[in-house]
Amino acid sequence: MNSQFALQSLILRTAAHFLLPLLLIFSVFLLLRGHNEPGGGFIAGLVAASAVALYMFALDIRSAKRVLRFEPRDLLGWGLLFGVISGVPAVFVGQPFFTSQWLELTLPVLGELKVGTPLLFDVGVYLVVIGAVLLILLSLAEAED
């Protein structure tokens, strides 16, 4: 049932089942509010990566990968692409690269919301961080298996 890699601990495994969603929701929370409070894509990404790393230690590598759903490598690519692309829309309105573009949305429940390219950028950072940290950790773990 368990791979060679993980710690064979029922307590940790169970705790991980509980902590994983907690860490992930916490990470999204940190990402979304990062523009206004401490947090942001980088920190959020690290927390998310920690969550998966915990799963890796507690369960096994395969489960950890299943949590992630994507290859960490692809996350790197998409994250970078988001990061680069978020700088491009400005060019179409005749502004320099990475000039932030904001959209004011009025949503039914959430009310007025400012959505801008910096957020897209932060999401790119988030994805890259998750991808990078997990690519490193999972490769290292797999190397041991």
Binding site: A6, L19, P38, S50, F57
Partner: protein
């Protein structure tokens, strides 16, 4: 009153920090050191709490929050190392 308490709290935490540090140095086993590291993380949470009180800025609680939630991962890592027999040639 509160200021004085905070001062005392800082001093006590400072002394605690040194005590923890000694355990970290003395070991003697790796798990002993890891306990010390865990405790250091907890103590850092304590520091941040006192600092929040003394500065009146609550933003630092976020640091404590992250710390409380993730610091034990280091212990997990060490535990796994030991479980795989990685430290027998050490210490």
């Amino acid at each position: 009153m509160l200021e004085f308490s905070i001062f005392i709290a800082y001093v006590v935490l400072g002394i605690s920090l040194v005590l923890i540090f000694f355990r970290l140095v003395l070991g003697p086993s790796l798990p002993d050191r890891v306990v010390a590291l865990e405790m250091l993380a907890t103590l850092t949470v304590g520091f941040i709490a006192v600092y929040t009180l003394s500065s009146g800025v609550t933003a630092f609680l976020d640091v404590a929050m992250v710390l409380a939630l993730t610091a034990f991962l280091a212990a997990v890592g060490f535990a796994r190392l030991i479980a795989k027999g990685g430290s027998r040639d050490d210490d």
